[in-house]
Symmetry: C2
Amino acid sequence: MHSGQPAAPYPATLNDVAKVAGVSLATASKAINGRGDVAESTRKRVLDAAERLGFTPNQLARSLLAGRTHTVGLLTSDLEGRFVIPILMGAEDAFGAGQVNVFLCDARGDNIREQHHLKALLNRRVDGIIVVGRQTDPRPSLGQNVPVPVVYAYAPSEDPADLSLTPDNEAGGRMLVEHLISCGRTRIAHITGDPAYAAAQDRARGVHDALAAAGLELHGEVMFSDWSERWGRDAAAMLLEQHPEVDAIACGSDQIARGVLDTLRDLGRQVPEDVAVIGYDNWEVLTTNARPELTSIDANLQQLGREAARHLFKVMGTSEPRPAGTRYLPVRLVIRGSTIARR
Amino acid sequence: MHSGQPAAPYPATLNDVAKVAGVSLATASKAINGRGDVAESTRKRVLDAAERLGFTPNQLARSLLAGRTHTVGLLTSDLEGRFVIPILMGAEDAFGAGQVNVFLCDARGDNIREQHHLKALLNRRVDGIIVVGRQTDPRPSLGQNVPVPVVYAYAPSEDPADLSLTPDNEAGGRMLVEHLISCGRTRIAHITGDPAYAAAQDRARGVHDALAAAGLELHGEVMFSDWSERWGRDAAAMLLEQHPEVDAIACGSDQIARGVLDTLRDLGRQVPEDVAVIGYDNWEVLTTNARPELTSIDANLQQLGREAARHLFKVMGTSEPRPAGTRYLPVRLVIRGSTIARR
DNA sequence: AGGCTCATCGAAAAGGGTTTCGAGCACTTT
DNA sequence: AAAGTGCTCGAAACCCTTTTCGATGAGCCT
């Protein structure tokens, strides 16, 4: 089964346009790019010819000359991770329907491959690079001798000389507790994921601080294990056994929260009447399908991607000293039925 | 907070290398690319110089000359969709740690924006384009006068002159039923999503055909509505009211299956002992966290992405007539505890 | 010694566009 | 009539690499 059509040829070059219009290369270029020094009648002739031939300028040639390609590289270590995608969308968004295109590279968590991709991107003369990790744990820097600006998103760089943008997990942890308190809860427990993750530790610290600030104490220890629903179910069962008095459970992820909801349901506890539950990440497929729908913390990742892109935009091309350090971007509370009863 | 380091300059050009090595541009190029006609001693001198200067060839210049860029465009209409990502990974994978880089463009479902991105990709002289949709419903073709090969992935093109790769949903539907029958079930119902989706219709047809082939009939009508957990819960409740005899439920998505599992649990039915449940899509976060873990159909999307890339590879550069038509790629059964009791 | 081959190297063009700068020309001014 | 002014346009350089093909020189044969 073949179409038989080999392929349309690439459209005309500027040279063709110039010939058809009966002018020189230089004049054709100026006419098309709207530079001065070309009579209105000539411009029209050139534009007509370009239109007829379907001319579009070859970006390769243009970039080669200009020294800027209007491309950026997005270097990620884990594409399947759900954190990369919103960031990627935000970046694409900020660069806009505009002129910038994004090269996507997935290093699959392999350092060698990352170096390889980096080199490939530089050989293609990208104007900037966004490095996206899948955890909020600091990652090794690409180093300071990269000839284009680099910004680290989600996973900050270990090197303070780099610019990193990462969600403020500590503020998120505080937000969990503050919201529960504002719902009138005082007997709060915290079930979270793998203690080896900075995200787990940072959120737990936020939880602790907000409780302390309100003169409260956590009911039970922070329960660390992994980020699964199963752990949420098991942890909730243990928790209710040892601390049946709890009236709110702050969870370190939406998956954990889903598990917690299941156990509460099995044990006949009403949510949110008896126990309020709050998740983290605002992963829609989990939050909006839960019974009841799950209140959660959204890390504003798309916003983070936009910021990263905007930053690159600002410093691309300039040779000024670049901003450095790690910026913690605000997160956002999304309230649903698991903390506030629907009327 | 500034690093103070403005940016390392771009590395040396071939000209610099030639000068340092004391040879001509041509010789330097030949030495570096391993072409013949250059004395071993000279080659060493050039390579040393290149090493010292950190020379890497400018791909722009190279591409401009060669007429091939070793880049492809990936044009998607919906990045957040979970179908795009595995396909993207498969494509990245097939192009390999090799030479090809991927431009990612998200049209956000907007036709104008898609045209715009297409033009931008062509101006950058990509060697090929992969179009990825978020549904299996056929989508409008980009047309036949695109100067590079195009392959449609997941969402096939409406135009049979294009090459499309899409998962075989009908076979998947049959597989649902065949597996349930092989588990000894005969009283089978089907709950699925939005009837406006080709995926829902194709899978339902597969379910119907496989039942007919086994001399069985569906218990109740096919239940269409939407792809949510909530619908799964509600539909299962209705189903068990009207057809309490069912011993298996084939679901059109994992979300629906999760809802079905919840209702069965609420009603005290054992899974899989009383009722077997099977999902579709093999969305890991849903399947492996379910109680019991959910048997499902995997569309092999990563494989599909690889195939798409491989196809582009094959026809890129050649001017032969291109293969056309829609190819339905095999799907795969992933067995877990919701259909077969764990020992 | 002259003519030959062979290995090695470099000049130049090509790829497609942008930009600088000088040339040509019509028209005005003194 | 000579000089000056202002507007159009084109030649050529440039970006960086690859490739062709002709030039150079050394070594060998008769």
